[in-house]
């Protein structure tokens, strides 16, 4: 083809925007129309390459795009109108930002000449979104649109990923506009050059320290998932024979059923993981950020540990916990180089020390600290439901969650062996995330089993999306762990407020079964432990249907272990009556 001689196609700004998304490889755009984006919606209507998914509330669009990104590593795309459309998207943008999820959000804006005049549906989205985006930009000239789209994806997906907002004034998308269309193949920014590899000298140092460790721990986070480094992590851990713990965001980064996995760490981490961290002499932190839900009191954090911290974002290093050997770089090549250095080294891990360390860890494991207990009441424990679903789905489902006790039960009892399967709002803790997230995954992986673990509080924050599910035939399974309370709030009120349940009881709940049916789905209610397995099996037998599984669970159950506030990593409540 003689591209050079060819005249570029002349297009309107709106048409260029959609074409650019297509050329970027985008299949779905999640959104909701409105005045400022009508030209763009008209451009969508006139092509059939990029499909628009119409949600019922803009927040759901952001979570769908976000979940697509969490399941694939690629940026999801959102399109909303100005004003309320944009502000409704804010929670979802902040959710993605806190968990470093790549996303491109196109927000409509009033005509350029009206900006600043308090025009109808005007809001300063550049200002509102600034603290919760990796970057944002406003279109000043329609001809710039293809380059801006390219830039947005590049920034969103490279380095430490994050959401990027493109604010598009309506006059930038006028249908009568004609601009030469050309989609750039690459983009470079002089002020943004994410690091491509780690410092070899530091990696060598890290290898030496790791090989000299007596009580080592590998602590890995969401960076392993988004950095596509779970294979490297597994190779490294198995080469060394060291124990691995994952953060909430990092679950699935290391296979949960592997014997070297000691479970999640932190506030609701396992007894063994938190103890092993506290007693470790070397901690290798990979794509994790020493979040306050992990460290507990930073002053008492792992007193004997030499800390090696690998992260792509220099601001994460020594932010809360000082790092002895900082390595700035993407986890994938850094771990690969670490493996090489370790293999090349004459030193081998201290087998004797390691055997003693594993013996200690196994003793902690056998104590089963914080495990739930069953009784003969017939009441269902929420943890049992998660375990039953894990068995039923052979541990291979995509599991999304909302926020609260059910989220922790899912994290603790669904054992993820693969990355990209556990999809939850870790950093921001956004209730209402679970259902739209499940929808985003199911749409893109129609053959996969997708389960949304939720509660009767969270699910009602985006329940209107049952309608979207009907429209697009999204056969997700909603597992509603219904205890009639905002469970995590209630748990804190039990523990810190002498059980004064201020506004944590949910009165007047709908009949979820009928509600699901009203939207054209299937509803199943499970009340007794004896019917749990059979009814779950029935629910999962409806392959392409959305099934709302309302499981009435023990309202008194708490999430354990739970770290004692302001304590050490291994100061934990293990039940209502036991603490370490």
């Amino acid at each position: 083809m003689s591209e050079a001689n060819q005249q570029p196609e002349m297009m309107s700004g709106g048409a260029m925007l959609i074409r650019a998304l297509h050329d970027q490889g985008v299949k779905y755009v999640y959104g909701y129309p409105g005045g400022a984006v009508l030209h763009i919606y008209d451009a969508i209507h006139q092509q059939d390459k990029v499909e628009h998914i119409l949600v019922r509330h803009e927040q759901a669009a952001t979570h769908m795009a976000d979940a697509y990104a969490r399941a694939t590593g690629k940026a999801g795309v959102v399109l909303v109108t100005s004003g309320p459309g944009a502000t409704n998207a804010v929670t979802g943008i902040a959710t993605a930002y806190m968990d470093s999820i790549p996303m491109v959000i196109i927000t409509g804006q009033v005509m350029s000449h009206l900006i600043g005049d308090d025009a109808f549906q005007e809001t300063d989205m550049m200002g509102i979104s600034r603290p919760i985006v990796k970057h944002n930009m406003s279109v000043k000239n329609p001809a710039d649109i293809p380059m801006m789209v390219k830039k947005a994806f590049y920034i969103a997906e490279s380095g430490r990923p994050g959401p990027v907002v493109i604010d598009v004034p309506k006059d930038m998308t006028m249908p009568n506009g004609r601009f030469p269309y050309h989609y750039p193949t690459e983009v470079s920014l002089r002020s943004y050059n994410p690091v491509q590899k780690g410092h070899s000298g530091q990696i060598r140092k890290a290898a030496n320290v790791l090989l000299s460790a007596k009580q080592p721990m590998i602590y890995s986070g969401g960076g392993i998932i988004m950095g596509d480094a779970s294979n490297e992590l597994r190779e490294l851990a198995q080469l060394l024979g060291y124990p691995v713990t994952n953060t909430l965001m990092g679950l699935g980064g290391y296979p949960a059923t592997d014997k070297q996995f000691v479970g999640m760490l932190g506030m609701h981490g396992t007894f063994e993981a938190n103890n092993a961290m506290h007693h470790a002499d070397v901690i290798l932190a990979l794509g994790a950020r020493f979040d306050d839900r992990v460290t507990n009191n930073v002053k008492k954090f792992c007193p004997n540990a030499t800390i090696i911290h690998v992260d792509i974002d220099p601001t994460s290093i020594s932010k809360t916990i000082d790092s002895h050997i900082p390595i700035v770089g993407p986890v994938k090549p850094v771990i690969a180089e670490l493996i090489e250095q370790i293999k090349a080294s004459e030193q081998k891990p201290d087998a004797e020390a390691l055997a003693a360390w594993w013996q200690q860890i196994n003793e902690w494991r056998e104590r089963k600290g914080g495990h739930y207990k069953t009784d003969n009441s017939g009441q269902i424990k929420p943890q049992q439901v998660v375990e039953a679903v894990w068995r039923l789905t052979k541990g291979d489902a995509y599991v999304t969650s909302d926020v609260g006790q059910h989220q922790m039960f899912a994290a603790q009892y669904y054992r993820f062996d693969k990355p990209y399967r556990w999809i939850n709002s870790g950093g921001l803790g956004t209730m209402g995330f679970g259902l739209p997230a499940a929808m985003g995954v199911k749409l893109n992986f129609p053959e996969a089993e997708v389960v949304c673990v939720t509660g009767e509080g969270s699910i009602q924050m985006n329940i209107q999306e049952l309608s979207t599910c009907k429209q697009y035939g999204l056969g997700v399974k909603i597992l509603n762990l219904n205890n009639g309370y905002l469970g995590m709030v209630k748990q804190w009120q039990d523990m810190n407020y002498e059980s004064r349940y201020s506004n944590s009881y949910m009165d007047s709940l709908p009949d979820f079964m009928k509600l699901a049916e009203a939207y054209g789905h299937i509803g199943i209610t499970i009340r007794h432990i004896d019917e749990l397995e059979a009814k779950l099996a029935e629910a999962f037998s409806y392959k392409d249907r959305l099934v709302f599984i309302d499981v009435i669970v023990d309202p008194t159950e708490h999430v354990y272990p739970m770290q004692v506030p302001m304590g050490k990593m291994n100061d934990m409540f293990l039940s209502k009556t036991e603490r370490t």
Binding site: R130, P131, K134, I155, R190, S191, T315, S318
Partner: protein, 163 residues
């Protein structure tokens, strides 16, 4: 404790808001801030005076670098540097003290750039300490207005802040 940060950034609308927003969101101090385009019209140079523990300054520097539009950040106070601030100060100058004010301004190498029968406006350039000292020296006078630019600075000698 006191640090002078020089920030080279894209001369684009919103870039300044990002820097100011960063300081506000993360609770960092700004003592003074000055910004203007450089000889290269596509770049702005900002000089920030901030105070904090080394750990905080390290975070500030990293966070600034993380902003997409920031091209480069240096901490001028890490090495030899020169810094200047400009002040315009308007004082009441009735006949009995007119001479004294002028003498004081001369001692500080200030220039009187606007004169009325009852007031002087003096321009003074120097380090922030010198400007403070001048205000102190005029403490017996009636100061009407003070406008300071905030500190600007460069490294001494060969060291440059370039793209």
């Amino acid at each position: 404790m006191r640090h002078l940060l020089s920030v080279l950034m894209e001369n684009e609308p919103g870039a300044l808001a990002r820097v100011v927003g960063l300081f506000a969101q993360r609770g960092y101090n700004i003592e003074s801030l000055t910004v203007a385009p450089t000889e290269d019209k596509t770049l702005s140079r900002m000089t920030l005076v901030t105070k904090g523990e080394d750990k905080v300054i390290e975070q500030i520097t990293k966070q600034l670098n993380k902003l997409i539009e920031v091209v480069k950040v240096i901490d001028l106070t890490e090495g030899a540097h020169v810094e200047r601030e400009l002040m315009l100060i308007k004082v009441k100058a009735p006949t009995p003290v007119r001479e004294e004010i002028k003498r004081t301004a001369d001692i500080f190498r200030g220039q009187i750039i606007d004169v009325t029968p009852t007031s002087y406006t003096i321009q003074l350039t120097g380090t922030s300490d010198k400007l403070d000292a001048f205000i102190e020296a005029l403490s017996g006078m009636q100061i009407l207005e003070v406008a300071r630019t905030g500190v600007s600075g460069v490294s001494r000698g060969e060291k440059l802040l370039l793209v």
